[in-house]
Amino acid sequence: MSTLVDVQDLRVQFGHTPIIKGISFSLTAGECLALVGESGSGKTVTSRTLSGLSGAGSKVQAERLAFAGTDLRQLDDRAWQALRGAQIGFVMQDALGSLDPLRPVGKEIAEPLRLHTELGRAARQARVIELLRSVGVPQPELRALQYPHQLSGGLRQRALIASAIAAGPRLLIADEPTTALDATVQAQVLALLESLRSQAMAMLVVSHDLAVVSRLADRVAVMHHGVIVEQGPVEAILHDPQHPYTQSLLRAGRAVHFQRPARAAPKLARVERFDLPLIEARHLQKTFIGPDGQPHVAVHNASFSLRAGETLGIVGESGSGKTTLTRMLLGLERPDAGDVWLNGRPWSALNDQQRRQLRQRIQVVFQDPQSSFDPRYTVARVLNEALQVAGLPRQDWPARTLELLELVRLDASVLSRRPLELSGGQRQRIAIARALAPNPQVLVCDEPVSALDVSVQAQILALLADLKTRLKLACLFISHDLGVINQVSERVLVMKDGEVVESGTVRDVFDHPQHAYTRALLDAIPQIDRPAPVPEHHFITYAIAI
């Protein structure tokens, strides 16, 4: 087989900062190479360089950089444009952002056909429908006319893939094709990419998740700080990793991803339990009027209670109602029926002014720590603000600040830095410290590790488990990831379409799932060792009211 992509000693730098520091790899027709690494490793820049889109201000050097015998280093704009979309299809990260919100998806898919084929308007139209059907989009005639915001995450990703393969490229580059998708949808998109592979098209898949790529790739290249530290056949990398970085990546992945039948979660130290629940939800109900004018039940009859030192995991996919439930618990949304009790007293029934006095008892950590900080504030100012709101006298701030940093295991040197100067893990630790500032009894964690790299995820989860025990917190842990829930919670609540479909101890729910949906969720978790069974032609679409 002939070499399709040949890269020797590729170097990319932005200004004077080298991002890619001399990497080499090749790809033959029909082969799939996975580029794996954590954020900042240079994997996205590498993939973009292959289509000449390394970005403004970048300088690309290579000993060899060839595609199908063409020297990519020599190409001018026009030649690149003839190559992109025609020979090299690209599926970029973030399907919602990568589709033009003002154009129907059918038009986006037709674009490469218009640019690179001789097809007339009607023929393009027909081809678009055909493409949508081939990537498993139901009702393609209707979907082609719809706008990205009218499609579910899975359908958007399928449409984006259709636009990348429309002109029949010889190489398909997919950057994080399943990130930000729900577990069951993720499995379907992986299956789709797998089916495309067999059609003699080479594929370069970029991902931070070894489990995802292990299903797809023939070979894996592990990137770290702009260098490929290890590359080889997928089995070799997974079962006999040589480089310490690969080993740590695998360990972290295993720790986060749930493995059956082995019990992964270390049993947490027993803590004294108080009889009184710290937070209790009774028959909560919330209905919204959807965009179509129809009532949409976001949460239906949800009840649970939580004691000190306990963690309840709430798991569900997008649109399952877990966000609405969280907002009701935090007192940001008033339930239509049912009520929330905090510390044995009514909570959801209070008016805003009464609630404000009790707010300190329940604190929250959000998914994206970056957007929950003022970028101009230093860490010290972020924490001081929280202490001020908590009503602590000013002279006690420095001592308490150090105490909080010690709790989240950060050094005092971070105090003078701003959010952008911190790593993702450090930012999340500061978010936790801020939540702990007023000594809360209940800590709500809304997808606290979803935006983090796997190795960092494991550290943050361990920290949360430790804090819960030390501070006797009642913890609510919301996540779409069963593996994460399994690690931190004793009890779990599975939500689907606003209903609590299953609840119980983690052990019961994971080992003996009763509801079909729980089983589907468990099966959809990407496993490093075992390919997950994929429900064929089982499309789940969600009505998400945004």
Partner: protein, 307 residues
């Protein structure tokens, strides 16, 4: 449907507010409208004449009665008769509006065209091109029309007499006023448009479109421009207001016929019906423009729900 009704009602409210404010402003400004009716400040009417006019026009009535009659007449579409010209206000406006429409339309087209061209050509391009463009926009958007107008007159009518300095017949007389009126608006618009375009060109779907093989220019024209139209449409109200305000000055400067000049003359002569008529017309167009903005934004952006 309910929302449309609410918006129409709000529009009526705006018109009523404009009518009332103008009524109050005219009533409390210096000068006697009766004198205006009887031929302006130079007239020397007899006391009998004064009393007669006062009674005829209802100026002897209490203020609230005058106001009530005034609103009542407007509600019936009767804007009264110009004190000075002795013809119905609607007819007087009708005679002048053509020239102003011509000027406003050509200035709007020129301003939007210039702004689009400058934004599309310079957004995220060579930093020097961008700097020059943005500096000239800043100068233009802060130059009043009359300054630009005088400069244009000096250069193109007096230094090199290629274009007529005054008048309102023929396309030659339209060129200089159009430019004077359009440039400040173009400067302002293209600043907004470039900012918007640069934000949009950072979006992932632009990179994705490039990855399908679109050229830089094609990406701008086929993808980014439509997004940039949203703020442009939203600014229509501003454009309209600038055109109207600019028209007063420009028409005076270039001695053109038109509503703007008529408005100024009427205000100086305390010709209340004409001032009121033009004010209400402007408010009406303004309300209409803003209704249209909502409809257009809904057409451009499918995510915007029709209101």
């Amino acid at each position: 449907m309910k929302q449309l009704a609410a918006r129409l009602l709000a529009g009526v409210g705006v018109l009523w507010g404009a009518a009332t404010l103008t009524f109050v402003a005219i009533h409390f400004s210096a000068g006697d409208p009766v004198l205006a009716i009887l031929g302006g400040p130079d007239a020397i009417p007899t006391p009998q004449q004064l009393a007669q006019v006062r009674e005829e026009y209802g100026f002897d009535q209490p203020l609230w009665v005058q106001y009530g009659r005034y609103v009542g007449r407007i509600a019936h579409g009767d804007f009264g008769e110009s004190y000075r010209l002795r013809i119905p206000v609607t007819e007087a406006i009708g005679k002048q509006i053509g020239a102003t429409l011509q000027l406003a339309l050509s200035a709007a087209l020129l301003a939007i065209g210039l702004a689009l061209a400058s934004a599309v050509l310079t957004a995220k391009r060579n930093p020097w091109v961008r700097r020059v463009a943005s500096a000239s926009e800043l100068v233009l958007s802060s130059s009043p029309s009359f300054v630009l107008g005088i400069l244009l007159l000096l250069v193109f009518s007096f230094q090199w007499p290629v274009l007529p300095p005054a008048g309102s017949n023929g396309w030659q007389t339209l060129i200089l006023p159009t430019i004077a009126l359009a440039l400040p608006i173009a400067g302002m618009l293209s600043q907004v448009l470039r900012q918007e375009l640069e934000d949009i060109l950072e979006q992932p779907f632009i990179a994705m479109a490039r990855a399908r093989g679109l050229s830089q220019t094609a990406v701008r024209l086929r993808h980014a421009l439509r997004h940039a139209l949203v703020p442009l449409v939203t600014l229509s109200g501003f454009i309209f207001a600038s055109l109207l305000g600019g028209a007063v000055v420009t028409e005076m400067l270039f001695a053109r016929q038109g509503i703007g000049r008529m408005m100024l003359d009427a205000a100086v002569a305390k010709d209340a019906p004409v001032v009121l008529g033009i004010t209400l017309l402007a408010a009406l167009v303004y309300v209409g423009v803003n209704l249209l903005v909502d409809v257009l934004n809904g057409l451009i952006d499918p995510r915007v729900k029709p209101r």
